[in-house]
């Protein structure tokens, strides 16, 4: 009965959770400026939330450092489906100028499916707004898809979520392997 009403409310309030995975702070500043009165993403319902459990859109900035990768995976696993991952700036997709560094465990695609990427170093706030709008559209689509499957995420997403949880619980995921590999290299 209330489904239509709930759908409309969900569409009008995609909440953002921001993960800083070793960013230089440039992208973080621009993301915050998106929420200021000048660009005001809150008129479309984008709201920066403090916990991943209430988030719909996850914005990741930074080149995924060794220190942050475990936390990134654990945080992403806590975001309920359907979720939409947005990479902010050049760093999460490639490592940018930090490419090839011993302290980098990126790119982000190794750990999760990236739905929307906003390029630039740093992106302009308008570009970020456009990216978020696209992410909201994708989120809407995913939600519709999920309803078709009886409230479950389509299989790849479920598999990814389960995998993430396993990684977070047992610490046997890519991140640990990568880190062990790096440590062995350092020892040798």
């Amino acid at each position: 009965m209330f489904q239509k009403w709930i759908d409309k409310s969900m569409r009008k309030s995609p909440w953002i959770y921001h993960i800083n995975a070793g960013s230089c702070n440039g992208c973080d500043i621009e993301l915050v400026s998106v929420l200021t009165p000048r660009y005001d993403a809150e008129r479309f319902g984008f709201h920066l939330t403090g916990t991943p459990r209430q988030a719909d859109i996850v914005v990741v900035s930074g080149p995924i450092t060794m220190q942050s990768v475990d936390r990134l995976i654990r945080t992403l696993a806590q975001v309920p489906e359907p979720k939409c991952v947005v990479s902010l700036g050049s760093c999460p997709r490639s490592g940018n100028v930090f490419k090839g560094s011993f302290a980098i465990a990126g790119p982000l695609e190794k750990y999760t499916h990236v739905d929307v990427s906003v390029g630039g170093c740093t992106p302009k706030p308008e570009a970020i707004v456009a990216g978020l709008a696209k992410a909201a559209e994708i989120l809407e689509e995913k939600r519709r898809e999920m309803r078709k499957h009886g409230g479950m995420a389509p299989s790849p997403a479920v598999a990814a979520a389960v995998e993430h949880e396993e990684r977070a619980e047992f610490g046997t995921g890519d991140a640990t392997a990568v880190r062990q590999g790096a440590e062995q290299e350092a020892d040798a």
Partner: protein, 158 residues
Amino acid sequence: MIFPYLGQAIRNLFTKPATEKFPLAEAPAAQPHYRGRIAYDPSVCVNCGMCQKVCAPQAISRDIHPLPNGDQEITLTFDLTSCTFCGTCADFCARHAIHLTEDYMIVGTKPEDFLVSGTFTKKKPPAPKFTPEQIAAMKAAAEAKKKAAAEKAAAETK
């Protein structure tokens, strides 16, 4: 005056909001000399490779594909997900084949959305008219001729 900002407050009631209309309206233009999406013109490129050398995040890749007639098909690809938009490649380009445009809307869902590439064909250099042996022989002949002329001149003065 008790309310020094009252005038400002009343004026603000009748002014337009400071919020930008985007995305409901068109995106505003960037500042002049903004360094956005790369534009590459392969028709003036000479394949010197300088851009690739100066690119700090290694965003530029070059693919040289030899053709059967001796020409080379050269493709330069700029990966905007690696780019720092520093503009060094454009500064170092001797032929001005690279420009950083003012287009900042670099938003996409696929990696292909972030690639800028261009292809051109580098002609095989024309074969030289004479082989090095022929040139050496011609030089020797010229030398001998000169020597003979000098000897003849010397004999005449005696």
